[in-house]
């Protein structure tokens, strides 16, 4: 063999024949790339649903005395908006979607460790989503995505359905976490040590244990709530000896790591986009990787900062306050490192790069307000108000969503072999920046001035600002719709991209677009991190990937 390839007879050489038939290829596929696309498409559909619910909220809030929806309907709408966005859009999109699509190729593997588990985990997702939305038909859940008891002990069967649906989608999440963890630990290409891994892989690697551990804790909380509602077991009912605060501890022990599940993959995404479009290495690779680990670990220790007003013992509040403030340090290090990556670069403002710069600006705002909220005396005023709504929308809509949009524009060629339209992309970016900021910036001061969250009707003195926010939200919606249109239009009319339109250096760009079912004809070996643009590509064995040579033949009978 002319090529210095690795043929050990192991997993790297264990190639399945190409799947045949529509069902095997596109519906019940075991191929991580197809599964990734399935996640992205399904999450996109849920994003449209959740976005529509958001617009219902904004229409209601244009009038201080409401009237567009009954309060009960409004409560169901914001509950489903939050529940859908967290569990059915952001988490599946960033982990199951882009994680599946890109990570195995970036580590030089042919698939994830457990392809069957991967497929089952995907199919749980739309089924759970149908279950969630069926709750509208049986008395929808109304107490917010946080469903605090005793409030969540009241009401129709929809709340129990909510418990079951979120539990189920959590099972899929846990499976994905386990799958990714084993894949990254065990299936990296020869020579790819941890410090040679792309930062997107680091993002998935630190998120995977959170998916596994934190989501299971949520499952326990949901199971307990379901058991109380359906069988009367009084975990959370104070009249029968239970504790309303117990739910908050169990729920937030998961839900705080959940927000890191929502952001750490996005950190990984923009860490790929910046070097590519600045033509220089990511600044401070080791610190970015190390600080991701620190954030993942610290993320388990700060949950009660959601509970400062709840009546927790004062002595308990202090360590949570201090630990929450500590997380600002590794986060700040990353923000400075990404900014420094821009210094001295040759900056190309593709849509992916625009969204990444937008991420850097808006996530920083969200991070700053997070530090505000860590200080208990300030939080005592701001908790439960629109200041909180502003904070988390800046880190999620300004952070996670922009990271995901950057990832979409960046990796779209790898899915389809075509480029998304740049003109539409740029329009979508500017509409998003204008729309998002117009919607969420005023919420900071509205909250401080006295507008609580989850109010179907509110003090008329806030009406003007609410109307402004609603108009800007329509701009934001237009942006998302434009992106979705762009993604669909470009499948047919997008310019063919070729294997590496961005001249990027990670492994997925060294194989054809769209990526072939076997990923690599020969698994390469890796001898450096990929970010040094002055050096040739740090891989050996990729000579045949872009040629006409036949696909690899399975070694040994299967």
């Amino acid at each position: 063999m002319a090529v210095a390839a690795v043929h050990s007879g192991g997993i790297a050489d264990h190639i399945h024949p190409e799947p045949e038939g529509f069902l095997r290829k596109y519906v019940f596929s075991l191929d991580h790339k197809i599964i990734g696309i399935q996640y992205i498409v399904t999450a996109g559909i849920f994003m449209i649903l959740a976005g529509a619910l958001a617009e219902l909220i904004r229409v209601q809030l244009m009038k201080a005395n409401g009237g567009f929806m009954t309060p009960d309907t409004y409560n169901a709408v914001f509950t489903m908006h939050g529940s859908t966005m967290v569990w059915f859009v952001i988490i599946p999109l960033l982990t199951g979607g882009f994680g599946n699509l890109v990570m195995p190729v970036q580590i030089g593997a042919r698939d994830v460790a457990f392809p069957w588990l991967n497929m089952i985990a995907y199919w749980i997702f739309p089924v759970a989503g149908l279950m969630l939305y069926s709750s509208f038909l049986m008395g929808a859940p109304v107490a917010g995505w946080t469903e605090y008891p005793p409030m969540s002990l009241q009401g129709g069967a929809g709340t129990s359905m909510w418990c079951a649906a979120v539990f189920l989608v959590g099972v899929g999440s846990t499976m994905t976490g386990m799958n990714f963890l084993v894949t990254i630990l065990k299936m990296r290409a020869p020579g790819m040590t941890f410090t040679r891994m792309p930062l997107f892989v680091w993002g998935q690697f630190v998120t995977a244990p959170l998916l596994m551990i934190a989501t299971t804790a949520l499952g326990a909380a949901l199971a307990a709530l379901f058991i109380q509602r359906e069988f009367g077991v009084p975990f959370f009912d104070p009249a029968k000896g239970g504790s309303a605060l117990l739910w908050q501890h169990m729920f937030w022990f998961y839900s705080h790591p959940a927000v890191y599940i929502m952001i750490l993959p996005a950190f990984g995404m923009i860490s790929e986009v910046f070097p590519t479009f600045a033509r220089k290495p990511i600044f401070g690779y080791k610190m970015i990787a190390f600080s991701s680990c620190a954030i993942a670990i610290l993320g388990f220790m700060v949950w009660a900062h959601h509970m400062f007003t709840s009546g927790m013992a004062p002595t308990l509040q202090l360590p949570f306050m201090v630990l929450t403030m500590l997380i600002a340090i590794p986060t700040g290090v990353k923000i400075f490192s990404w900014t420094a990556t821009l210094f001295g670069g040759i900056l190309e403002f593709s849509t992916a790069m625009l969204y990444s710069v937008g991420f850097l600006l808006l996530f920083t705002i969200g991070g700053v307000t997070g530090v505000f909220l860590a200080a208990v005396p300030f939080d005592l005023h701001a908790h439960g108000t629109y200041f909180i709504v502003a904070h988390f929308h800046y880190v999620i809509a300004g952070g996670s969503v922009m990271g995901a949009l950057a990832a979409l524009y960046y990796w779209y060629p790898k899915m389809t072999g075509r480029l998304m339209n740049e003109k539409m992309g740029k329009w979508s970016f500017w509409l998003y920046m204008i729309g998002m900021n117009g919607t969420f910036l005023p919420m900071h001061w509205l909250g401080l001035w006295g507008m609580p969250r989850r109010y179907a009707v509110y003090d008329p003195q806030f009406q003007t600002w609410n109307q402004i926010e609603s108009w800007f939200s329509f701009v934001m919606t237009a942006s998302i719709l434009l992106t979705i249109f762009n993604a669909l239009w470009s499948i047919k009319y997008g310019k063919p991209s070729g294997p590496n339109p961005w001249k990027a250096r990670t492994l997925e760009w060294q194989i054809p677009s769209p990526m072939p079912y076997y990923n690599f004809k020969h698994i390469p070996s890796v001898f450096s991190a990929p970010y040094d643009f002055a050096e040739p590509l740090p891989y050996r064995g990729l000579e045949e990937e872009l040629t006409d040579s036949p696909p690899p033949v399975p070694v040994g009978a299967h």
Partner: protein, 205 residues
């Protein structure tokens, strides 16, 4: 013996085949994946254990008014049965490693029987307590939920071990490739370890 000849027929030609590279790599993945599954299961139990300890210490005290007292003696006997089944499973796997098929079969059957005995003991205890899951306040929330979850894990374990036994009879495992048996043993020991914790926090605390 007829059974022996059936089983040995399944193993003929393959019992000592050398594991290839693919098997070794796949085995590593499966073992790691299974360990992670058990970590996740541990988190599930830990969450409910936290809930129980929290309720116990911030509410009506334990046992709460109207709740029955637990029978330490019955539980102790039951625990011995369960730990015994852990030992028998260990012997089963050891015998397999030493290529004694019949001894393996005997020990695994004994394990399954002991597991079933443990479950029966649990049901007897539940009947003696004579209170409902939802009608005994935080007693139900703590005790029945956790021991019920554990019992469910034992039940699944019994099915799991039975399936493994049937698979060995069909010749699925050889004396050199038996990852499934290792994982089954690991699961059974995990169920034992959980019981140590539950026994301590309900009967000894």
């Amino acid at each position: 013996m007829a059974v022996a000849s059936v089983t040995h027929a399944g193993l003929v030609g393959r019992p000592y085949e050398e594991p290839d590279q693919l098997y070794l790599e796949t085995r590593e993945l499966r073992v790691q994946g299974f360990l992670l599954f058990m970590v996740s299961d541990l988190v599930l139990f830990s969450s409910f254990i936290f809930a129980y300890l929290y309720l116990r210490n911030t509410g009506q005290g334990w046992p709460p008014p109207g709740a029955p007292k637990l029978d330490l003696a019955l539980a102790a006997i039951n625990s011995v049965i369960l730990f015994g089944s852990g030992a028998t499973m260990h012997f089963a796997l050891e015998n397999w490693k030493h290529r004694h098929f019949m001894k393996f079969a005997n020990w695994i059957v004994l394990t399954i029987v002991l597991g079933a005995l443990f479950l029966s003991g649990q049901l007897i205890e539940y009947a003696k307590l004579a209170v409902g899951w939802g009608s005994s306040g935080i007693f139900g929330a703590g005790f029945f939920t956790l021991t019920g979850m554990h019992g469910f894990h034992v039940f699944c374990g019994i099915i799991y071990l039975t399936v493994l036994l049937l698979q060995t009879l069909q010749g699925k495992y050889t004396f050199t490739k038996y990852t499934g048996l290792t994982l089954g043993t690991l699961y059974w020991h995990f169920v034992d370890v959980i019981w140590v914790v539950l026994f301590s926090i309900f009967y000894l605390y």
